[in-house]
């Protein structure tokens, strides 16, 4: 090959690199190993973590231990799908394109909104993108309900540094959120999370009225697993709905890859970030799928694009699509019912302990709830790890003793009972 190329050695291929900039030593990394060794290395790292059967998971706050049916990765893991590139070449990408089209359709069905895109990075960045959509009209302010996860607010704050806004949290988080009062024509978006960071059901319409009155957009962060039983964003007057899509088909993966879902009313479609797949027909009139409305995107509009997103979370969206199809309307409703019932049972079990009380008594919740402990929530959680439970996520922004507990359909009554007993022991010790 070198002869064909017309150079005497491999080094000559790198001759354009100026002399002083050539690395004249090997990289300071171990030399290559065999497949057996790299697998053993990674397996031994994985074994140092405690997860799955080894640590019963009641942690939530945007990432949940739902059951992933075997079909999901048996299909999403097919190599024609996972080793493929972005479907710019539609003739060679009908599989991914059609699956994404189905994904968008299902997200629209879930949310009762008109249009959806082919996935964003995750829930938090999907909220950033929704806020950018709202701010595209020229308004500046971004109001955020108190019940929105602080992690999402932090993410908004980071991105706001570049885009020129500071998210205004309406009120210190305290159970159910209070609707905005300081609202004016410079408000671009009002953001609410429902169910909120404590799992509590918010009154979304109470946010919609003032937002509409001020001409601001209402953005809801939703939980896709709730939409079999809870009223969908579209029915609550929401303009843009975003979600962390992980609970559909994606493992916990220590935080990623997940996927951001985003759906909106049709009038916002040209401001929507990311890829959109549309249906079309080929020269023979047969249906087919292509990326559409690409004039919004960075590779065409560059600086004027609606977003800089390029690589997104297609494979995760594909997994979510398969999981949603596996669930269907019946399974989705059952999923919601089971989460709600088990969370309710766990709430009773834990608040039934002498020293544990509800953090926000009387508030209806979905699959997550907050309890107040007589001691540091972090300490209690850590002590419960030794007993095999990941009991929840502390909420230090409320107080030192608040723990947020999530209960998915995957948890059994037995596990919940055992958690209650273990917590009682820990609190007694």
């Amino acid at each position: 090959m070198l002869a064909t190329v017309g150079v005497p050695s491999i080094d000559d291929l790198f001759s354009q690199i100026p002399e002083g900039l050539r690395l004249e030593r090997p990289l300071d990394l171990p030399r290559g190993v065999s497949e057996q060794e790299i697998l053993a290395d990674l397996a031994s790292l994985a074994r140092r973590d405690r997860a799955g059967e080894d640590l019963v998971c009641f942690a939530g706050r945007g990432a949940y231990d739902h059951f992933v049916p075997s079909v999901v990765w048996a299909l999403a893991g097919r190599s024609e799908l996972y080793t493929s590139y972005t479907p710019y070449q539609p003739e060679l990408s009908q599989g991914v394109l059609q699956a994404l089209f189905e994904f968008q359709s299902m997200v629209c069905e879930l949310t009762v909104l008109d249009v959806s895109n082919a996935s964003l990075y995750d829930g938090a960045t999907a909220l950033v993108e929704a806020v950018n959509m709202a701010r595209a009209g020229g308004r500046s302010r971004v109001l955020v309900a108190g019940g929105v996860d602080p992690r999402y607010v932090e993410t908004l704050r980071t991105y706001g540094r570049g885009s020129g806004y500071v998210p205004e949290v309406i009120q210190a988080p305290d159970g159910r959120s209070a609707p905005p009062t300081d609202i004016d024509p410079d408000v671009a978006a009002v953001v609410i999370q429902h169910p909120n960071v404590f799992g509590i059901l918010e009154d979304v319409t109470a946010f919609g009225a003032p937002a509409r009155a001020a001409g601001a957009m209402l953005i809801q962060v939703f939980d896709p697993t709730s939409l079999g039983i809870l009223a969908p964003p579209g029915d609550l007057g929401v303009d843009i709905a975003v979600a962390e899509g992980q609970p559909f088909g994606n493992h916990l993966n220590y935080g990623g890859p997940y996927l951001g879902m985003l759906a909106a009313k049709i009038e916002h479609v040209r401001k929507m970030p990311g890829r959109i797949v549309g249906e079309t027909v080929d020269v023979d009139g047969r249906p087919g799928y292509v990326l559409t409305l690409q004039a919004r995107e960075q590779h065409i509009r560059r600086e004027k694009a609606t977003s800089n997103i390029c690589t997104n979370q297609t494979l995760m969206a594909l997994a979510a699509t398969i999981h949603m199809a596996w669930l269907g309307p019946g399974g989705l409703a059952e999923l919601g019912r089971q989460c709600a019932a088990k969370a309710s049972y766990a709430f009773d079990a834990l608040t039934g302990l002498a020293s544990v009380e509800a953090a926000f008594a009387g508030e209806p919740f979905f699959k997550e709830f907050a309890v107040r402990l007589p001691r540091s929530a972090t300490e209690v959680r850590d002590a419960l790890v030794d007993r095999g439970f990941l009991a929840g996520v502390p909420a230090p922004w409320v107080d030192d003793g608040t723990l947020i507990v999530a209960v998915t359909e995957r948890r059994t009554r037995q596990e919940i009972d055992a958690l209650a007993i273990a917590m009682e022991e820990v609190l007694a010790s």
């Binding site: 990394l29 405690r50 809870l230 479609v269």
Partner: protein
């Protein structure tokens, strides 16, 4: 050279969507019987109408998505010679590694003490990426390259802001990827284009004329998007540094230089890496990716939180403690599962293997450029390409009326993925090709069926073009609940082909 395999699972589209398979009453789902008391959703919160998800049996679901997969081209199907995308073979071992319950079932908010394996993986990977790029520390949080760019720009902004003025513009060569200017704007900057010379390199004199105290920095891809190494890179970075600007390295083309040269040594301050390019994490039909960002010493305090830190006793933790940090770029810690695969690639190949990867990638590109030169001359014949090159079909068009897109369609009909065409825009009838190290395992590889049928290779010789461009759509509708809408085509943009390390 074996370039790939025909696409033979390309069946006729139009078997209907999963919804068309649905039958009321069918279902695939199963849940345990509810073992606690059922509860009621408060009346006001109740969903009234079930969502129109499909009702299908599991076997229908399986057949449907199996069928869809067979209508898709992937690296496992054949060569993917898209320029600027490094579509290389994704080692199967990485999939096995990432599936371990200790990784796959780890909750992002677990206490650090229960995630020491994951943290160790991140720690080692960060160090390796810093060594490869010549940076001091890195964040692994950005979930893709574009997010990495924005991360870098926010770091740039924070740096200048601390010095008293965030500045207002960022310089970007005209051949740059679209995410560069888009990210610049999201970082609060105006993007100012830098022109190229006839040899395809940054016009250094023009650059010198563009810099001033209002320039926050320069974003540069090197080797650039034309596949050429910026010979004057040292002067370029100096010019920008001299006005107090920072230099950002778009690492999309890092695959060309591993073990041979390092952005840090070239004078760059910030580097992003696309793990789905250089480190062969599967691209998944458009994602996921990961876009780690490395920085030089004085920019370390601005890196996003949380960051992995090691305590004196060796324990690792996810630390939020960084008062000058730009903050959080992702809801959790980024695409961890992708990073596991990147780790597998980096440490499987090691120092020797990574260098070999770059050498093979460059060799393959140069070989392929020579092999097709007769039909498709290089757009910049005076500069030696690195890991990719831009050829042109302009001659063919003049002589035979055959355009680059016709060649691409013909290549598809032969069963391969074509190269990028009509990009970069500065080149007439451009065909941009990146074979990567995957395209050929060993020098001299030269037989087997379909061998000369390369993308834009001699395959194009017996051109019978103008076969129906089957899905360059006349019009497409946005799915689901929205009305029909005009479409602006499915233009190929970039991408790549993929072997494993040969020993």
């Amino acid at each position: 050279m074996i370039l790939g395999a025909p696409v033979r699972r390309q069946g006729p589209p139009g078997e209907g969507t999963v919804r068309d398979l649905a039958q009321p009453g069918r279902a695939a789902w199963s849940f345990p019987d509810l073992d606690v008391e059922p509860t009621e959703v408060p009346e006001a919160h109740r969903r009234r109408q079930a969502p129109g998800l499909p009702e299908v049996a599991e076997r229908d679901l399986v057949r449907h998505y199996t069928r869809l997969s067979q209508m898709n081209y992937g690296v496992d199907t054949g060569i993917y010679p898209l320029g600027s995308c490094s579509m290389k073979y994704n080692p199967k071992l990485a999939e096995v590694a990432a599936a371990a319950p200790g990784f796959a079932r780890l909750h992002p908010l677990q206490p650090d003490g229960t995630a020491q394996g994951a943290l160790e993986m991140l720690w080692r990977l960060e160090a390796a990426l810093c060594e490869i790029t010549g940076m001091t520390r890195a964040t692994l949080q950005p979930p893709a390259g574009a997010c990495g760019e924005l991360t870098g720009l926010l770091i740039m902004r924070a740096h200048h802001t601390e010095l008293g003025n965030p500045r207002s513009t960022v310089l970007i060569p005209d051949s740059a990827h679209g995410t560069n200017p888009a990210s610049a704007r999201l970082g609060g900057y105006r993007a100012v284009p830098v022109p190229s010379t006839p040899r395809g390199l940054v016009d250094v004199d023009a650059l010198a004329g563009l810099v001033n105290e209002d320039v926050a920095g320069l974003m540069l891809t090197n080797p650039n998007t034309l596949g050429l190494f910026e010979e004057d890179i040292a002067r370029i970075t100096t010019i920008v540094h001299d006005v107090g600007g920072l230099v950002y390295y778009d690492g999309a083309n890092l695959n060309a230089i591993m073990g041979r040269s390092r952005p840090g040594d070239m004078g760059f301050d910030i580097v992003h890496i696309n793990t789905h390019k250089t480190f062969a994490t599967p691209h998944g039909g458009g994602g996921p990716g990961a876009g780690p960002v490395g920085v030089v010493e004085h920019l370390v305090p601005y890196l996003p939180v949380p960051r992995v830190q090691r305590d004196p006793d060796g324990t690792l933790r996810m630390s939020e403690d960084a008062p000058r940090s730009i903050g959080r770029m992702h809801g959790f810690h980024g695409n961890f599962g992708v990073l596991v695969r990147a780790y597998a690639y980096v440490f499987f190949h090691g120092s020797d293997g990574l260098q070999e990867v770059s050498e093979l990638a460059v060799l393959n590109a140069n070989y392929l450029a020579s092999a097709i030169a007769e039909d498709f001359p290089l757009a910049y014949p005076d500069s030696r390409p690195m890991h990719e090159f831009v050829a042109t079909a302009a001659g063919l068009e003049r002589d035979a009326g055959v355009r680059a897109m016709d060649v691409a369609k013909r290549v598809i009909d032969l069963g391969y993925h074509p190269s990028t065409v009509y990009f970069p825009l500065v080149v007439e009838e451009a065909m941009m090709v990146e074979p990567t190290e995957t395209a050929s395992g060993s020098p001299g590889a030269q037989s087997g069926p379909g061998t000369t049928e390369g993308p834009g290779g001699s395959a194009a010789r017996p051109l019978r073009v103008h076969l129906p461009p089957r899905l360059t759509p006349p019009g497409a509708s946005v799915p689901a609940r929205s009305p029909a809408d005009r479409v602006r085509g499915g233009r190929p943009r970039s991408g790549r082909a993929a072997p494993r390390r040969n020993r």
